[in-house]
């Protein structure tokens, strides 16, 4: 899994997190500055409201700081961990306030499919984004919605069935088909990247 440690000369995420776990102020400041745009960006994408997004982003960063001592690298990258915490808090905020979430189609259109990134942003997301964009773009719209609703908004198949006015079995089928497609596209990308990497080394 990618981390932003690929930026030349910058300490890896894991090192900053370890420093944060020791309550080292410099590590905390560096970590917050590295992640605040991503955390706030995800919260804003999900909530669509800057005030609530800021509250969620603040709380996410505080939780990361608190839980830094129990971060387990074997269970995923720092980036995934931080964004999962953010996503879970955003979903809680949506449920608690009974707020209307961003439409999943908007989320896809404005977010994952956006090609208009600043170069430094593109570098941060370069590992993940192209494959995901293509995989999402290639999915039938109804499967794409089901996948985004489940993977990003944390909706269960039953909730998707209700929200989309479709039978539960159809919701489950859409999720499964979309997930299968996403996985195969990403795995194909990974194989291709490995192949290119091996060729470069020759």
């Amino acid at each position: 899994m990618g981390s932003s440690s690929s930026v030349m000369g910058a300490p890896p995420d894991e090192a900053l997190l370890a420093g944060m776990a020791q309550r080292d102020d410099a590590s905390t400041v560096a970590f917050v500055r590295r992640y605040q745009k991503r955390v706030y960006g995800l919260a804003l994408s999900l909530l669509g409201d800057s005030g609530t997004a800021e509250e969620v982003a603040q709380e996410a960063m505080i939780r990361v700081w608190r839980h830094a001592p129990v971060y387990d690298a074997r269970r995923g990258s720092v980036t995934t961990w931080v964004l999962t915490i953010t996503r879970n808090l955003a979903i809680d905020a949506l449920r608690m306030r009974r707020a209307v979430p961003t439409d999943p189609d908007d989320f896809v259109a404005l977010g994952a499919l956006s090609a208009e990134r600043a170069p430094e942003d593109a570098a941060m997301a370069a590992v993940a984004a192209p494959g995901v964009r293509r995989a999402l773009a290639e999915l039938p719209p109804e499967q794409r919605r089901a996948l985004v609703l489940a993977a990003v908004y944390g909706r269960t198949a039953a909730e998707i069935s209700e929200a989309e006015s479709i039978p539960l079995g159809t919701a489950k089928t859409r999720i499964r088909a979309a997930m299968t497609k996403l996985r195969s596209t990403l795995e194909a990308d990974e194989h291709e990247m490995r192949h290119r990497g091996a060729e470069r080394q020759r």
Binding site: G2, R23, D25, T28, V29, V32, R33, K37, R38, Y40, G41, L42, S45, E54, A57, E59, M61, I62, R63, R66, H67, P69, V70, Y71, D72, R75, G76, T79, T80, W81, L83, T84, I85, R87, N88, L89, L110, G111, A112, R117, A125, A128, A129, G131, V132, L136, L147, V148, A151, V152, G154, R155, T156, A157, R176, M179, T180, L182, R183, E187
Partner: protein, 241 residues
């Protein structure tokens, strides 16, 4: 809880694996799939691969510039900008003081759970009496049922956990009536079981909920606390209302 459960086969669970990987499977279905995964490396690998694919969706979300003052408000909250490290000191001192008082409290808690909060003698130094701010209690629950009990008592938070199968270390947090979330501490569960106590930094009557948080920040069990007792003149307390 699971004595009459039949472990399902690969074909039975294959349709549910995507939802498990997405974290949207709950209740009986989730428990059944997890039971199958314990003995099936192949399906476990499948779920892991799907989880990584799902993670890519989060990684592809766009960045956005936070509002002005975001950083300074956050650093002030963490005690970082000023270097005061207020929370650091709190943890550095208080978490190491989980000593005999905690052990006694947990013992009292265990007795209380087993006997429906029968009165404990007030003559012993660590006997449970209602603390200023009041004691509160609640069942610790998740989507799959009851997983233990939470009690706040004399400035301590006490927790017993059972059948909560979460890998690694878990964190206990409380949310106050004003909406603030406060980390109480971390502890290990052994085969889904644990008994644990730690000092509270907020008055018990301001604690609205307590939750057990897994390594990834997900809330795996939750309790909404309510007043347990008033202090009696005789000092004999901890009786349910």
């Amino acid at each position: 809880m699971s004595q009459d459960r039949t472990v399902l086969g690969c074909e039975d669970v294959s349709e549910l694996l995507p939802e498990l990987a997405l974290g949207t499977l709950a209740g009986r279905e989730r428990a059944d799939v997890l039971a199958h995964l314990e003995g099936c490396p192949s399906c476990s690998h499948e779920v892991e691969a799907m989880s990584q694919a799902a993670d890519q969706l989060l990684l592809a979300t766009p960045e956005a510039e936070p509002p002005v003052g975001f950083e300074s408000r956050l650093f002030a909250e963490l005690g970082t900008a000023t270097g005061t490290g207020s929370r650091t000191r709190w943890f550095g001192t208080h978490m190491r003081t989980v000593t005999f008082a905690a052990a006694a409290a947990v013992a009292a808690l265990a007795v209380g759970f087993g006997t429906g909060w029968a009165a404990a003698p007030s003559s012993t130094p660590q006997s449970p009496v209602a603390a200023p701010g009041g004691s509160t209690t609640a069942a610790l629950t998740s989507a799959t049922g009851v997983h233990g009990q939470v009690l706040t008592w004399q400035g301590w938070l006490l927790m017993t956990v059972h059948d909560l199968h979460v890998a690694g270390k878990v964190t206990c947090e409380v949310t106050t009536t004003s909406g603030r979330t406060v980390r109480v501490g971390s502890f290990w569960l052994s085969h889904g079981y644990g008994t644990w106590a730690a000092p509270l930094s907020v008055p018990a009557d301001q604690v609205r909920t307590a939750q057990v948080v897994a390594w990834d920040g997900s809330v795996v069990a939750h309790a909404t606390l309510r007043a347990l007792t008033r202090r009696t003149r005789s000092g004999r307390a901890l009786r349910p209302q």
